[in-house]
């Protein structure tokens, strides 16, 4: 039983407001990912949940108990840091058992729990090494082990993989997912600014911007129905194309990149069109929803062609100052300057108002 409730939490450092009135509910057993650009307040939010920072306003409840006035050790949380934060003068065994020993847990039980964690994370051979004798991945496993040993109600991860190289990151990502399942779906909060990590790990994602939660939902909800252009641009890789668009209510046509799209087509994609003519709209098309077609509505010269072998990305200029990136399956070969015609799948179009909010 460990739910987490964040109720109208705000945080200011001096006069700078870092977290603005965030409310969030995390269900028992959920792995929720906080994602957002650098400096948006993810770590601060996590540190407030951990008790390392005081909330300026609002309440935090863990497992039905209000904790925002409790010290970190009394909140039933364990945290894994980006820099691992192992005690350098203690060996792996000492690092794993430190918190328990300090809490006065019996010796045999400490040993048993340490050994269990070591087994889960395959640390058996490393128990007598000092942190400096471990590789980055091994250190991170020890850091995670230190969290497991404490048997917390909630695990907090602050960008735990960002110091690892790309291959190891993919591997550890899978490890964390396995761990989540192995620990009977313990509640976990995972901070990252890598949207691939967010998509692959999360039961639910909360997208942060400027101290606010812009949207929270399952990865597919965010992918299919981003609440605004920020979330739309943040989730998905490569990110969504945005074209400046104008809606003419008389003719029921949307003009974007020199093309006129029928209102009825847009309505099929679930878009609710404004009753009156509007300018400053943004039409969003994901690269994977564009395909090559001689009758395609967007044509232009190829600027850049990125070939990854089985798939490729082509960047074209349908009109000056605007770029469309399309993800092409199969093998293709374009050269800069070639003509290219792209067709958007009308079922997956997104339209955002002048204020950035989704129109649907």
């Amino acid at each position: 039983m460990a739910t987490l409730e964040i109720i109208n939490v705000s945080k200011s450092f001096g006069r700078t407001e870092v977290i603005r009135d965030v409310s969030l509910q995390v269900e028992d057993g959920e792995l929720i990912v906080f994602v957002g650009p650098s400096g948006c307040g993810k770590s601060t939010m996590l540190r407030m949940i951990a008790g390392l920072e005081q909330v300026s306003a609002g309440e935090i409840w863990i497992g039905g108990k209000q904790v925002d006035h409790l010290p970190p050790a009394k909140r039933g949380i364990a945290m894994v840091f980006q820099s691992y934060a192992l005690y350098p003068h203690k060996n792996v065994r000492g690092n794993l058992g430190f918190a328990l020993k300090h809490a006065g847990v019996r010796r045999e039980e400490v040993e048993q729990r340490v050994n269990e964690a070591a087994e889960i994370l395959e640390l058996g051979d490393l128990m007598d090494r000092k942190p400096r004798e471990l590789s980055g991945g091994q250190r991170q496993r020890v850091a995670i082990g230190r969290a497991i040993v404490r048997e917390p109600q909630i695990f907090l991860f602050d960008e735990p993989l960002s110091n690892l190289d790309a291959a190891l990151r993919v591997h550890m990502r899978v490890e964390i997912l396995k761990l989540h399942q192995r620990l009977d779906n313990n509640t976990m909060i995972y901070v990252t600014h890598d949207q691939v990590e967010a998509m692959t790990l999360a039961d639910r994602i909360a997208v942060f911007r400027n101290g606010r939660v812009e949207q929270s939902g399952t990865p597919m909800e965010l992918y299919r129905k981003p609440a605004n252009d920020f979330v739309a641009g943040f989730i998905g890789s490569p990110s969504m194309n945005f074209l400046n668009a104008e809606w003419d209510a008389q003719t029921e046509k949307l003009s974007a990149a020199g093309q006129l799209l029928d209102g009825s087509v847009l309505q099929q994609a679930g878009i609710v069109l404004p009753g009156e003519s509007a300018t400053g709209l943004k039409l969003g098309i994901r690269p994977e929803h564009l395909s090559l077609s001689p009758q395609g509505e967007f044509s232009g010269r190829v600027q850049v062609f990125e070939n990854l072998g089985g798939e490729s990305f082509v960047h074209i200029n349908p009109v000056d100052d605007e770029v469309l990136v399309a993800k092409l399956e199969g093998e293709h070969n374009f050269r800069p300057g070639d003509n290219c015609c792209l067709q958007a799948n009308p079922a997956f179009l997104h339209l955002f108002g002048a204020d950035g909010q989704r129109l649907s």
Binding site: P71, I77, F81, Y84, L86, Y87, H89
Partner: protein
């Protein structure tokens, strides 16, 4: 061709390291020569000292009279003990309070922390001896004249600025995440300091200890002014006893000085490995 340049380069590297070693050796000789003279002459009779100051003691000049008079005819063991107590206790306080202050300044953000940090370090620029008159008055008012406590207090104050300065530089680099992690593990702020931070900066402690100890051990000024009493003399002051108005017992003076060097040497030997690590840590890591 390539091998030739390589050879040349190796030659140049060898030459420059030879040069560096020559300079270092010359400096060492220069620094150690007085010590050598003191040690040498402490084993000679008075005539030996003046007859041939640089000569090795031989059958006719060898004498341990100096050491004998140091040990038997004076309160030298008492002075030695006084020096040890004053230096040891002052050093303990300098290390403890210096590390604590530096930790507080680097870890906690409180109003005026920058000001307090500057204030504490300002002492490096203002020699404490400028305040001797005021200090003397204060010590007399506190009824501490002619006590070891007076010396301990003054030396602690004298050593703190440099200690805080050195500790601050290193404690600034101790990862905040380790401390946060200890907080989550339930350690109190004191235990974080003693069990997490202190072990991380152990080499620095050795550095600060050696740097702080020597001026205290060698000081003549404050013992002379604050506690010249017979029972509270330190070694440096005690040695003056052998310097009479008309005659100087050079054998005893030199013997006393030789013995006085022992604790300092001892300290260096114990801490040298850590000391070097402490001094080079900043340089290597940048």
């Amino acid at each position: 061709m390539a091998s030739l340049t390589r050879k040349l380069e190796r030659g140049r590297a060898g030459l420059s390291s030879l040069g560096i070693h020559a300079i270092l050796i010359a400096y060492s000789v220069l620094a150690l020569f007085p010590l050598y003279l003191i040690l040498l002459n402490s084993f000679k009779s008075r005539r030996g000292i003046f007859g041939d100051p640089a000569g090795l003691p031989n059958e006719s000049t060898f004498s341990t009279k100096g050491y004998q008079s140091v040990i038997t005819n004076s309160d030298f063991p008492l002075y030695f003990g006084n020096s040890l107590v004053v230096t040891g206790v002052a050093l303990f306080f300098i290390l403890l309070f210096g590390a604590m202050a530096a930790h507080a300044l680097s870890e906690y953000d409180f109003p005026g922390s920058t000001f307090i940090g500057l204030y504490l370090i300002l002492g490096i620029m203002v020699p404490i001896r400028l305040g001797t008159v005021a200090l003397l008055k204060l010590i007399v008012d506190l009824n501490l004249a002619n006590t070891l406590t007076a010396l301990i207090l003054v030396y602690t104050a004298q050593g703190l600025p440099v200690a805080i300065f050195i500790f601050s530089e290193f404690l600034k680099n101790v990862s905040h995440e380790i401390k946060d992690s200890a907080r989550i593990d339930g350690l109190s702020e004191y235990r974080i300091f003693f069990e997490v931070v202190i072990p991380l900066v152990r080499p620095v402690i050795a550095t600060v200890a050696v740097f702080s100890m020597i001026p205290i051990w060698n000081d003549l000024w404050f013992p002379l002014i604050l506690s010249p009493g017979e029972s509270t003399r330190t070694v440096t002051l005690g040695v003056q006893k052998f310097v009479g108005q008309y005659t100087v017992d050079w054998g005893a003076v030199l013997a006393a000085l030789s013995v006085a060097v022992v604790p300092v040497l001892f300290m260096y030997i114990i801490f040298s490995k850590q000391l070097i690590r402490g001094i080079t840590a900043g340089a290597v890591k940048g």
